[in-house]
C-alpha cells in the first residue's frame, strides 16, 4: 500500500485585488479537497501591505475549513525590511515555507517547508535541507521525473509542482512596469491588470511566456496529470497546485480524483481543458524535454 498523495495549494503568485484574494481563499476553505494551503506574498514585497490586513481573517477561515496553513515567504528578498518581515513571521510561530536560502538561515534549524524557489536538484542537497529542518520540499519545476525518482525515495518529504503556469525566473527588475514604460519604484501596481500574468509573444506572434511583475512564468500550464501514478510510485507525497484564475476548486477535485484513482488521466485532462486556462496543458519539464512542450494527446 503506497502512501496517500496529499494536495498543497501554492501561494497566489499574482497581484489579485484584495477582495478576489479573500473570496478565493474562502471558497478554497469551504470546498477544495486540499490538505495544505500556502499563502503569503512570494513575488513582490510592494504588494504585501494590501493583503496584510486580511491575512489573519483568511488564515482563520482556512483553519476552520480543516486546512493546514503555511506562510510562504518572499522568493527574492533583498531589502532590510523584507528580511525583517520574514523574521517576524517566524517569530509569530507560523509554519513557514522558505523560498530563499536567507529564510532557511533565519529559521535556524526550526521545522519548515521549502518552496519551489530553492535550488534542490539532487539527493545530497535534499538530504542537507532535511537536516536543516525541512519536512516538506517542493522541487524546482524544471526537474525531470528521472531526478525526482532518485530524490523522493524514503524521505516522505517531496512535493512536485503539479498544476499552474511554471515559475521560471525572478528579477530585481519589474517587467510589468517596464512594459508600461515605467520603473519599479513608480509602478502604480500595473501588474494587477494581468491576473494570470501578462502574455508575452515572440516576434512571430507565438505565445511564449507570461510576466508577473518581477517574475517570469511559462505561457503553458503545467499539468502532471498523466504522471500522477509514476510520481506516487517514486515516493512523492504531495502535489502542488499553483493558483490561476480558473476554477481552482475544480482543479483540486480533479487532482484529488486522480490521486485516489477514481478518474483516468485522460478524463482528467479533458476536465482540465474545459476550464478557462491561460495556456495549453504541458508536462514537458517532467518528461525531460523543453518545458514549453505541450502534453501530447494519446
Amino acid at each position: 500500500m503506497t502512501q496517500r498523495l496529499s494536495l498543497t495549494l501554492g501561494s497566489v503568485l499574482f497581484n489579485w485585488p484584495v477582495k478576489q484574494w479573500v473570496d478565493f481563499y474562502a471558497r478554497i476553505a469551504d470546498e477544495a479537497p486540499v490538505d495544505r494551503v500556502c499563502l503569503g506574498e512570494v513575488v513582490c514585497s510592494k504588494r504585501k501591505p494590501f493583503v496584510d490586513d486580511v491575512t489573519l481573517e483568511v488564515v482563520d477561515r482556512l483553519e476552520r475549513g480543516g486546512k493546514e496553513v503555511v506562510y510562504s515567504t518572499l522568493a527574492l528578498p533583498t531589502g532590510k525590511r523584507e528580511i525583517r518581515d520574514i523574521g517576524d513571521m517566524i517569530q509569530a510561530g507560523y509554519q513557514i515555507e522558505a523560498n530563499d536560502i536567507a529564510t532557511v538561515h533565519l529559521l535556524n534549524g526550526k521545522a519548515h517547508s521549502v518552496g519551489p524557489f530553492i535550488n534542490i536538484y539532487n539527493e545530497d542537497t535534499l538530504a542537507l535541507h532535511l537536516k536543516l529542518g525541512a519536512t516538506r520540499i517542493c522541487l524546482p519545476p524544471e526537474l525531470p521525473l528521472e531526478s525526482i525518482r532518485t530524490m523522493a525515495q524514503g524521505n516522505a518529504a517531496v512535493e512536485v509542482f503539479a498544476f499552474g503556469r511554471p515559475p521560471l525566473a525572478l528579477s530585481a527588475r519589474c517587467y510589468s512596469a517596464r512594459a508600461k514604460g515605467t520603473a519599479k519604484d513608480a509602478c502604480q501596481f500595473v501588474c494587477d491588470r494581468d491576473r494570470d500574468g501578462m502574455n508575452v509573444e515572440t516576434l512571430d506572434g507565438v505565445p511564449f511566456l507570461a510576466v508577473n511583475g518581477t517574475q517570469t512564468l511559462g505561457f503553458v500550464v503545467t499539468a502532471v496529470v498523466r504522471h500522477v501514478e509514476a510520481l506516487r510510485d517514486a515516493g512523492v507525497v504531495s502535489l502542488r497546485l499553483s493558483p490561476q484564475t480558473c476554477d481552482m476548486v475544480r482543479v483540486a477535485r480533479i487532482f484529488r480524483d486522480l490521486a485516489d484513482g477514481s478518474t483516468t488521466p485522460q478524463e482528467a485532462s479533458e476536465s482540465l481543458s474545459v476550464l478557462h486556462l491561460p495556456g495549453p496543458l504541458s508536462d514537458g519539464f517532467l518528461r525531460g524535454v523543453p518545458g514549453c512542450s505541450v502534453t501530447e494527446v494519446d
Partner: protein, 330 residues
Amino acid sequence: MTTPLELVCPAGTPAGLRTAVDAGAHSVYCGFRDETNARNFPGLNFDRAEMREAAAYAHAHDAKIAIALNTFMRAGATDLWKRGVDDAVAAGADALIMADVGLVDYARKAHPKQRLHLSVQAAAATPEAIAFYRDHFGIARVVLPRVLTVEEVSRLTAHAAPCETEVFVFGGLCVMAEGRCMLSSYATGKSPNMTGVCSPPSHVTYREDRDALVACVGGFTIERFERGEPAGYPTLCKGRFLADGAMSHLFEDPVSLNAVALLPRLAEIGVTAFKIEGRQRGRAYISSVVRAFRKAIDAMAAGKKFDIDELRGLTEGQRDTVGAYKKTWR
C-alpha cells in the same frame, strides 16, 4: 584599503588562460570540459591535464586560479561533480567556485583546507544568505548577483566579513536572479543549472530575411537585427518580444555591463575582487579587457585618475550599461 584589489579574469581555453595571465590578471577562473561548469560550450574548457598545466602556468606567473564547478549536481550522478572537486584540488586550484549547497558541503568535508568561493549562480543577495554559506561551510568569498545596487553591495560587503565579496564589472549581464532562471530550460530543455548552458548554440538558428538577421532559440523567434544594426547574443532574456500590444526588449536590451566608472566607489566600500565575464570570448577580448581594467586598478592603487573608452566595441549590441548598480535600472 587593507587587502589589495584583485582582478578576476575569464579563461575558456588554455590559450585564453595564458593570454589573461600575460595581460595582468591577478587571478583566472575556468572549468572542466563537462556539465560541471556553467559555460559548457563546444570547444571550450579544460581537460584534467590541461587544468594541471593551467594551474602551473598561473602560479609560475604569480596569478591564482579558481576552478568553477557551478552547476547543480544531477540526481543520481553526483559523482561527476565530486570527482571534479577532487581533481580541481589535485590540479592546484587556489579556490573552487560552487553554487550547489550539496557540493559545497562535500568539498568542505572532503577538503577541509580548500578555499571555497560561492558562485554568482547561488545568487546570495542578502546578509543572511551569505551568513548561511559562511557559517555552515566557511565560504571565503561570495560572488554577488548582478541585480544589486551599489548601496546593496555596500551593505552586503559590510555584513559578509570576514567573507570577501567579488562583483562583476564587465561583460554579459544576467537580468534574472542567477541560478534561479529556467527560461532556457523552458525553451530548449537545456538549462544553466542542469546542463551548464543558457540559450545553447545547438538550439540557435539564424536566417536572413529581407536583409535582416533573424535569430531563433528553440524555434522561438526572439530577435531581428536590421541591416547595419549591431547584433547581440541570441539570449532569451535579451530578445525582442510582443507584450501589451508593443514590441520591445521586454527584459533587457542587448547591452553589456561596464562598471569601470564605478571601480573607485566599489573599492571604497570594501569589495575585494572585480570580475570580468566572458569565458566564451576570444583572446582578443580577454587581452584588451584585462589590460584595460588592470591599468585602471593600478591607477586607482596609485591614487591616479583613469579613463577607459576603448572597450565599447567588445560589448554586446555594442552598448554598455552600469546595469543594476543604479537603482533606476529596476
